[in-house]
Amino acid sequence: MNSGAAQDWPRDIFDALAALDVRQVAYVPDAGHTELLARCAAARAVRMVLLTTEEEGIALLAGAWLGGERGVLLMQSSGIGNCLNMFSLARVCRFPLLVLVTMRGEAGEFNPWQLPMGRNAGELLRLAGVRVTRVDEAEQVGPAVAAAGRTAFAEPAGAAVLIAQRLVGVKSFDG
């Protein structure tokens, strides 16, 4: 267990996803998910599904559930904007939808193009019927993902965990 300095929250997410028996990991890469993606890619039971746009992941995970498998969708906050109509699929059919969002456009963001979705991702998710948990502390991340996943798959329903930019690190260049 982690007794040292910084909490290894990507590892905690990985452990939570493994405990939830998540098999399909759908993603558009974000720098904040780098370590988690590497851990997932190294896991034999996990299928990595690289998307061209985040909304594909909602449809993918609906199909996975129809076939009896669980999945998770990883993205950065701007990806929420790409998903809006497809959230209707999860909502109308009550598919489980576990979404892990690394936040951009928060305190210290240098790229103004990230600000609109950084400010609005949480509210847009709520409007789309997805339950939202925001985490600002590293040691909260793993438990938040475990709890969100439990309810998402049990209800079933949509649940998102927004991971604060301060945990992800503030990028100083590129988008």
Partner: protein, 201 residues
């Protein structure tokens, strides 16, 4: 209503879809929103058909998630050209995953039928089979007539894929034959039929 070559295509979508799902056996089917789902329903509503009433652009990806979850079952996505055009990126995503058990079939009437028969991009220069090939599908075909359809049917149902066929069908308005509309019901009946009753307890 746009007029053009598609009004004279010989293949009729209801007959094509009836052939696609005839003696369906273990086949799992996803229908794109609107007319393709009505065609599937006309061919016989079935618990292992998941007909969409929305989620435009998502049909092929639902098929992918299902095909990855159940690699021993053949999965067939039947959708429209407009629906496929809204999610072209899915073709690249599917090609990368390369599920051998997935077939995507587009009923290409070169129209947005549900919304008043407006022309789609395929009425112009766009060729969905070429897009699928460029995306990396290993098995791709274009179908214009009955003989080509007959030759393709066993490949759609069994050839290791992912398989993509674009079927040019006549642009025609047909009577609505509607599947159940309640998404939770459609999901539950599919899971119960595939996974057993415990799956929806």
């Amino acid at each position: 209503m746009t007029s053009g070559r598609a009004e004279t295509y010989p293949l009729r979508r209801r007959e094509v879809v009836a052939r696609l799902v005839a003696d369906r056996g273990e086949l799992l089917v996803v229908g794109g929103l609107g007319a393709p789902s009505w065609d599937l329903t006309a061919a016989g509503d079935h618990p292992l058909t998941f007909p969409l009433w929305g989620a435009m652009g998502g049909a092929a990806m639902i098929g992918l998630g299902l095909a990855l979850a159940r690699p021993t079952r053949r999965v067939l996505v039947v959708t429209g050209d407009g629906e496929m055009l809204m999610g072209l990126g899915a073709l690249a995503t599917i090609a990368v995953q390369a599920p051998a058990n997935l077939a995507v079939v587009v009923l290409d009437n070169e129209r947005y039928g549900e919304t008043g028969m407006q022309a789609t991009h395929t009425a112009g220069p766009t060729n969905l089979g070429a897009v699928a090939a460029g995306a990396g599908f290993p098995v791709v075909g274009d179908i214009f007539d009955q003989a080509q359809l007959e030759a393709a049917l066993p490949r759609i149902r069994a050839e290791p894929g992912p398989v993509f066929f674009n079927i040019k069908v006549r642009a025609e308005d047909l009577p609505l034959v509607l599947p159940p509309k309640d998404g939770v019901h459609l999901k539950d009946r599919f899971r119960a039929a595939l996974l057993g009753p415990a799956a929806i307890e």
